[in-house]
Amino acid sequence: MNRQFALLSLLIGLVANTSENVSATDSEVITAQQIRTDIVKKVAPAVVAIFSPDGNGGGSGVLISPDGYALSNFHVTSACGDFMKCGLNDGVLYDAVIVGIDPTGDVALLKLLGRDDFPHATLGDSDKLNVGDWTYAMGNPFLLATDFEPTVTFGMVSGVHRYQYPAGTFLEYTDCIQVDTSINPGNSGGPLFNAAGELIGINGRIAVEKRGRVNVGAGYSISINQIKHFMDQLRGGHIVDHATLGATVRSGTDRTVKVDSILETSDAYRRGLREDDEIVSFAGRPIGSVNQIKNILGIYPKGWSVPLVYRRNGRKQEIFVELPALHTKSEMAMPAGPKMPRPPAPRGRNPKSPEEKTPAEMGLPKEELPDEYKKLFEKKAGYANYYFNKLEQQRVLAGLTPYTSWQGQNGKWILKGQTVDGDKVVIKLLPQALSAQFSKRAPGLQTLDGSDFLDEPPGSGGMLAALQQLKLLFSEGTAAFNDVTYQGSQPLDGRGDTVDVLVTKKSILECRWYFRATDGAFVGFDSLLGSNVDACKIRILKFDDFQGRRFPSRVSVHYGDVEYGTFDFRSIETATSSETR
């Protein structure tokens, strides 16, 4: 206390010394200071101090929605367990549950419980950051704040689009923000704000060398734009995975990057990329080094399609490549286990790091979790918390409400119409078999006796199988499938509207159903006959009423890079299964 007082009086003394100066010179200074304190006041309520229930771990986080969703680091929450305690600067300790995790990107999404009016941060655009911009880091370094009032540090952006090597293949910081803003142990998971107080990153890492585990002028923040790509997957309770290209690349002498080898099973190969092709741009960014590709890949979830421009024999070609997963399923299961290896122990002289304080020392109350909260966590392989996946499934499935009148119509379906190129078509979806007859195109037949689904009609990628899945979804709902999951969101086909993705499995058939994020409208689906093959992509261009029932009246069908046809349906005849018999 005395020391604090002494320090305070020293500071006052210093200010007094210069007060003449201040009043005489810059009102700008006073204004700038006022802006800073106002911003700190505005955003500090959204900053979270995270503790494990037993007090054996801790870090920081930041609220991003009024209903309590908050971001942190995976390496913080993995030490805390499925439920944790979160303190805000109102002095209240809230319960929180883990929602989704990204072990590769070191991100975790949790949900604070007990309020629907949490203060929360506004997400900014981290790609607009420039070196030299001012930033605020907030959090609980060294777990100093016993009243959960966050510590604020202020500094400069030292570098953007930085790459920090992973530990193995996890905890990789790609395309991250480097700051000289002081970030220290305990800041992990806390927010980095830009000068306007918008959330632009999650602080997670510092350069540590021979001086002990404290800041030495280089801190790293995961860019919020990367996290945005993964956000809906995290909300869906997933253990999310990052992406790879399916090809290896090498640097040429003149800052060119060429494909070194490529997997023939990869989408990049199917889209036409070959060995020795020069990669000109990737995801819209020009490429001059192998590191740049690595840096860009790291910000995308598996399964996303991104544009790639390559040059062969002097000619440029743009393709959209669907990115395969970085890890296998078993690799992903590993970090989700009971505990990740903790970050290296402090090498400084402190005999005890702040994280090692006991609950009693932290003054945390020991209390049991209320029963109403226990149901908010559901274990399932491949998920951080399956409860939240079910929640998102329900949200997305509301997009099927306009089609509820098809429920029970699981007998025969007969669709009649024609393609825009004038080919008449009759499609029959019967309980025993599926068929398509055209006036010009080759007919298709698919039996439903348990034999494999085939590319029928030929060249469509399995349009009959796809329409059969649509019939199942409309007439029987998700109960018709073996497995259903909410997959997150992505730009449709790498360039369209952002869509929520629902994935269903029925025997070997996988379908991805797309619902526009802005209004929940059902806009199309992909059906896959197996792995490492192109999908039959059906996009809904128009809806109409068919005897009072809403149904897609115009759809396009693509297989690989080829359009199979655009169909206008004129009539649909359906029946329940009993009527069919």
Binding site: L10, L14, V15, N17, T18, N21, V22, T25, D26, E28, V29, T31, A32, Q33, N130, V131, G132, D133, G155, M156, V157, S158, G159, H161, R162, Y163, Q164, Q178, D180, A207, E209, K210, R211, N215, V216, G217, A218, R255, G288, S289, N291, Q292, R349
Partner: protein, 351 residues
């Protein structure tokens, strides 16, 4: 003398923060400054790579045709040094000359039309000046990525000379001490500039005070380096040995402090072959101060003054701190007995 340490800088830093407050919010086009300075700073890759001997560093261009100034370090011990420019272009760098007393070397790459710092436009600054540090600390930047930028304030302009002996810095001249962590792994050879991008100096190596276990962030003012850089570029340069206080015209330059060695007292220790070679006296030069004081071969030196001597190395460090006229007390073990001798530190001949 030795009490002037980093500790005494702390109040100075506090004070300087207060002094510069009126400047902190002045509108500056920081990003313009950074965009202007960054391309003049290069990434250097060379020898090293083992623990605590990193193989990367920083440097800065001082001519449009590829003269690069950096610190004199083990990185330059390799046959080829790789220089990577801000735009990702990679060149082979050749060491033109090195000046160990200034801890500086000048390299050359074969290129033209490069952005560079005009040394005649370099600035000087006092405590309280807001500064920017540019370097490839921790090798964060690769390829065409710009080097890292950090901000700080000059906390003091002082001299490293007071720290001779206890510190392993060959450079003993005036330095800027900065309140930001400018001196990190790989940062040496980077630049410190004013807020509007004028060159102030070259970031030095990492420097730790072994007594307080604190690290000093220091920058060598460009004024100390400019003449030598210009001599090297123009081909008029003759390297001076450390402790040489005269330039080629016989004019006395700034005095660099001299360090006492065991032989100054007539003591020859056994060869320093292992990490902690005990400081046994191998020979005592006849007629020397040590001889007069009664030291003998096979004596083990235990204390110099109040300091415990654990090895030949610490003996060297302790002797290096002495100044002429000091009363030197040495405790040795001979057989199983301790002997204490007193010696008055002599003037060095060259001083």
């Amino acid at each position: 003398m030795n009490s002037f340490s980093i500790r005494s800088l702390v109040p100075m830093m506090l004070f300087s923060v207060a002094v510069i407050l009126p400047n902190t919010a002045r509108a500056q086009s920081t990003s313009e400054t950074i965009a202007n300075v960054s391309p003049k700073v290069v990434k250097i890759f060379g020898a090293g790579g083992s623990k605590n001997l990193y193989a990367y560093g920083s440097g800065f261009l001082v001519s449009s045709n590829g003269h690069i100034v950096t610190v004199w370090s083990h990185i330059l011990d390799s046959d080829t040094v790789s220089i990577v420019l801000h735009d990702g272009r990679r060149f082979e760098g050749k060491v033109l000359a090195a000046e160990p007393p200034l801890d500086m070397a000048v390299l050359k790459i074969e290129a033209e039309g490069l952005p560079f710092f005009d040394l005649t436009q370099a600035a000087g600054a006092g405590p309280g000046t807001r500064v920017l540090g540019f370097s490839n600390a921790f090798k964060v930047a690769t390829g065409d990525e710009p080097v890292s930028v950090i901000h700080g304030v000059i906390a003091a302009k002082t001299s490293l000379a007071a720290r001779r002996g206890a510190f392993e810095s060959p450079y003993n001249g005036p330095v800027y001490v900065v309140d930001a962590v400018t001196n990190n792994a790989g940062a040496a050879g980077g630049v410190l500039t004013t807020w509007d991008g004028r060159l102030l100096g070259m970031i030095g190596k990492e420097l730790r005070n072994t007594q307080t276990n604190t690290w000093l962030n220091y920058v060598m003012p460009i004024g100390e380096l400019r003449e030598t850089i210009e001599q090297i570029i123009s081909g008029r340069f003759n390297s001076k040995k450390p402790d040489d206080d005269e330039d080629e015209r016989g004019k006395s330059t700034r005095k660099r402090p001299l360090r006492y060695e065991a032989t100054d007292f007539g003591i020859v220790t056994i060869p320093n072959v292992v990490a902690r070679t005990p400081a046994y006296i191998d020979r005592v030069l006849p007629g020397s101060l040590a001889d007069t004081a009664g030291l003998q071969p096979n004596d083990l030196i235990l204390f110099v003054g109040e300091s415990l001597v654990q090895s030949c190395r610490t003996l060297k460090e302790e002797l290096g701190r002495l100044e002429s006229g000091d009363q030197l007390k040495i405790v040795v073990r001979r057989d199983d007995k301790l002997f204490t001798v007193g010696i008055t530190v002599p003037k060095k001949a060259v001083e």
